[in-house]
């Protein structure tokens, strides 16, 4: 859809424009109002993350009423003792959760992307029997709320004994109709039929043509779909909450939520606040780094085609 509709003009657009130059020329200066607006937005969007960063350096007492207040550091620095606490609590189960999150996100995300690349290419470049109806079904599926599938998936998986195993999270995560859709539209645009025909005339088989000709051209879309599906799996809460009960299999999201419930249980519960904040802080770092370091790819990918 829209992600791709603008592709044709994109290249010319990037080169041919210099928005700032245009505006300056007319207004004679940088725009103060716009920058103030952006500043307010940045403060709004970044404050919670700043709060979390600060909170991860405090112990429980500091969280409740430290010298620096909620948005600044205390005199005491407890970041490393909090990390130590994460190693001690239930034999370091937190790190196990973090590892599980990585396992689920990477295997689910990579798997979903591979399936999407193959299927998107197949839909785009072959006119096989049943393509129309199948693709129609797929587009309908984009609009099916995936959470509506969680409970039946749970019942199905439990009937084959897969509930409470890593497969109960990984296998359903392989489903990404939107990824296939993106890949199809991108492949249609970015992989010219003439190039494929030329490879075939040179004697390359269908599979080799795909690997050597199409795959390199599909790279921007592959990175985008990979990021979207890794984030999707990393974020997933409802599915693991439903299908996993063994604490050792939980991803970090469900695990931390459990700690929060424990800490809120009142007098009977335990206050793990400092471990929750430090654990949450550590768990958001990998994805933030991934996004910041891969921005060239996904920003290009969201405007698919610009890297063609």
């Amino acid at each position: 859809m829209a992600l791709v509709t603008e592709t044709p003009e994109l290249e010319g657009g990037r080169k041919g424009r210099s928005a700032a130059g245009r505006n300056r020329a007319r207004n004679g200066g940088p725009r103060i109002g716009s920058h103030i607006f952006l500043l307010i937005l940045v403060i709004y969007f970044i404050t919670p993350i700043w709060w979390l960063t600060v909170a991860s350096t405090k112990d429980t007492a500091g969280l409740f009423g430290g010298s620096g207040g909620p948005l600044w550091f205390d005199d005491e620095f407890h970041f490393f003792s909090n990390i130590q606490g994460l190693f001690e609590r239930q034999d370091g189960i937190y790190w196990r959760w973090l590892g599980n999150s990585f396992l689920y996100a990477i295997s689910g995300g990579v798997g979903a992307t591979i399936l999407a690349v193959f299927a998107g290419y197949g839909f785009a470049k072959y006119n096989f029997r049943g393509r129309g109806p199948f693709f129609g079904l797929l587009l309908g599926a984009v609009m099916v709320p995936l959470t509506a599938l969680v409970i039946p998936t749970f019942v199905l998986l439990s009937s084959v004994g897969l509930v409470n195993t890593i497969w109960a999270v990984i296998l359903p995560s392989l489903l990404s109709p939107f990824g296939v859709y993106l890949m199809r539209v991108f492949a249609q645009e970015a992989v010219p039929d003439e190039l494929l025909d030329a490879a075939r005339i040179d004697g390359a088989g269908e599979f080799r043509t795909f690997v050597q000709i199409a795959l390199p051209l599909l790279r921007p879309a592959i990175v985008t779909v990979l990021l979207l599906s890794v984030v999707g799996t990393w974020n997933n809460f409802f599915l693991p909450l439903a299908v996993l009960s063994d604490p050792l299999l939980l991803p970090v999201t469900v695990g931390l939520n459990g700690w929060q419930a424990l800490s809120n249980a009142g007098s009977g519960g335990e206050a793990l606040w400092n471990l929750i904040t430090t654990g949450a802080f550590l768990s958001i770092i990998p994805l933030i780094i991934a996004f910041l370091s891969l921005q060239k790819y996904w920003q290009g990918g969201l405007s698919l085609g610009s890297l063609k």
Binding site: M1, V42, F64, R129, A148, T153, F237, I284, I288, S303
Partner: protein, 316 residues
């Protein structure tokens, strides 16, 4: 299916037309390779989408109790669902969220994208990334963080409002929990929508603006009369994403329940209701009916929205 034709007829309808191609035997044999490429996805699609849907539908037609065992009841569960005040209340809640949350997210995302599109300073580049960053934070962690920030014990609200000599509002009380949830979701998703809209804006041919400037159009006119109409298909897509997400609202209220137990009941949204029916009361048949009914509602609404906006989105 109308959506099919609608969505796939988007700009590049450059499908390899079989009629124009040489329809020889080689060509036809080669097309079968399509299935080879699509097959792995098709297997997952069947197992984890079609099968659960069919299964859920089947389950929803039965009822099972200890006394009578499993019994076929036809549409009874659906009649029960659509007259169940708890389910209807949940639907009303998510509808209210959709009406308030989606315009809020769209407005922030669109304004930010329009402003960013007009600037090319390092500050604007930096802001773009910072506005997007919450998307990289898992929803659960986002909700946990806001739970802390809202909390009268941990949160900064007390000191911030204290500066003005005001008492901090109780974000987690029954009256304000709705707004608190709207804020969490907006914070989490507006940046992502902004990036999609921004990418669409960068795709417009700047030559068009030059013509408008020559005609004496102001920046504001260019923004609302040229840019917004030209990216309407992206806007429609973003609204569809937001709509599907909002109607399945689950994670944020489920997590926030931990700190605001009195304010959020276990049946706050239809998904939470289905979850508690299934996992607290073992009523899997009725829970399936609720899930399925919710799925139908989401599908119908998305479809309706696409139909109503077919002109703006350029989908016919």
């Amino acid at each position: 299916m109308a959506t099919t034709t609608a969505l796939s007829s988007a700009p590049q309808a450059k499908t390899p037309a079989p009629a124009k191609h040489r329809p020889d035997k080689n060509y036809r044999r080669r097309q079968r390779w399509g299935w080879v490429f699509v097959a792995p996805f098709a297997a997952i699609f069947l197992t984890f989408l079609i099968l659960p849907l069919v299964y859920a539908f089947r389950m929803s037609l039965f009822t099972s109790t200890l006394a009578t065992g499993t019994k076929f009841v036809g549409a009874d569960n659906y009649l029960k669902a659509f007259s169940d005040p708890i389910f209807l209340q949940g639907l009303a809640t998510v509808a209210k969220f959709a009406l308030i949350m989606i315009p809020a997210q769209m407005l922030i995302a669109l304004l930010a994208a329009l402003v960013l599109d007009n600037l090319a300073t390092w500050a604007s580049k930096f802001s773009r990334l910072m506005i997007f960053v919450p998307y990289a934070v898992p929803v659960v962690i986002g909700a946990l963080m806001w739970g802390f920030l809202y909390s009268p014990r941990f949160g900064p609200a007390g000191s911030i409002f204290g500066i003005f000599g005001l008492a901090a509002p109780e974000f987690l009380a029954q009256d304000s929990i709705f707004g608190s949830l709207v804020n969490i979701v907006t914070w989490q998703w507006a940046g992502y929508y902004m990036i999609i809209i921004y990418a669409a804006l960068r795709g417009i041919d700047p030559g068009i603006y030059e013509a408008a400037v020559l005609d004496g159009a102001s920046d504001r006119q260019i923004a609302w009369r040229i840019k917004v109409p030209m990216i309407s298909s992206s806007l429609v897509m973003v609204v569809i994403f937001a709509l599907i997400g909002t109607l399945q609202f689950f994670t944020e209220p489920q997590v926030l329940r931990g700190v605001a137990q009195g304010a959020i009941p276990t049946s706050y949204t239809p998904n939470m209701y289905a979850f508690s029916l299934a996992f607290s009361y073992s009523q899997f048949n009725y829970a399936s009916a609720i899930s399925f009914a919710l799925g139908i509602v989401v599908f119908v609404f998305s479809f309706l929205f696409l139909f109503l906006t077919r002109k703006q989105s350029g989908l016919k």
